[in-house]
Amino acid sequence: MNNTLTVFALAALLPIGAALADDDDCSVPRNQWQPREAAMQVAEQNGWTVRDFEIDDGCYEIEGRDSSGRKIEVKLDPATLQVIEMEYEDDDDRGGARNPAPAGTAQPPENGLFENGASPQVQVK
């Protein structure tokens, strides 16, 4: 929840155009993309340490830490290199947006669907 609030708070700080965008996807034709080195330069200018660089929803996405060492995930418009979304992942003191417990490490939820609480048997072929 804190994460969500942080995103909202940051969205409020973005330029109006970005704040009014439909969602956090990018839809820039590939021929208008700036090279990833340019995106890395934006990171460097902001003092971010880049741990992972990928393309997500048509945006450049950087995972790493900001200049003060907080974990961040930033989406950049691949043409303008403007920040589309910036999320702090430390989620106060709990160490990030929590992922669910993988199968085998916890009981299935008590939602009435799993008879006797038995875990499903799963394989990918």
């Binding site: 995930e73 799963v122 990918v124």
Partner: protein, 156 residues
């Protein structure tokens, strides 16, 4: 007090149909060769009124992507506790995910629907990729998904 107990018993029975008997069911989901990264899949059940009952499996471990499984996300508020202990890896294009579980008898022929939401990085989200009524007659009959699922069937 007595009526409170009766109400509790009734709501518990409605909320936990699994308290009755169950049968082993195999859910088989085969993805088509859509040519992208592994798909995130949320398998979940809604009741006759369309209300979310619970999740059966989550393929894909990073909760930050769950918003792309938008129907599931809307129903659960993205609550990862819904998929604790029933989360595994995303499923690659062309692969088959086979889940075997004891599913409560009461879910069949009672208006419940099994849904699959699907999402693939850099590709279009596909909420409600599959929606099949859970009926004894429908068992073993493959259905096609809208975008990523080549076929889905439940067998018992």
């Amino acid at each position: 007090m007595k009526s409170l107990f009766a109400t509790l018993a009734l709501t518990t029975a409605l909320t936990f149909p699994g308290l009755a008997t169950a049968r082993p069911v195999t859910l088989t989901t085969t993805l088509n060769n859509y040519g992208g990264d592994g798909a995130y899949l949320a398998l979940y059940v809604t009741d006759a009124s369309g209300a979310y009952v619970g999740s059966l499996w989550m393929a894909g471990g990073k909760s930050k992507y769950y918003e792309h499984l938008s129907d599931w996300y809307r129903a659960t508020g993205g609550d990862t506790a819904q998929v604790n202990g029933i989360t595994g890896a995303s499923v690659g294009a062309g692969r088959t995910l086979e889940i075997t579980l004891d599913l409560a008898d009461a879910l069949f022929d009672a208006g419940y629907t099994l849904h699959i939401d699907a999402a693939v990085e850099d590709m279009r989200d596909s909420p409600n990729e599959v929606a099949v009524p859970l009926t004894t007659d429908g068992a073993g009959t493959p259905v096609r998904g809208r975008r990523y699922v080549a076929s889905f069937a439940y067998d018992m």
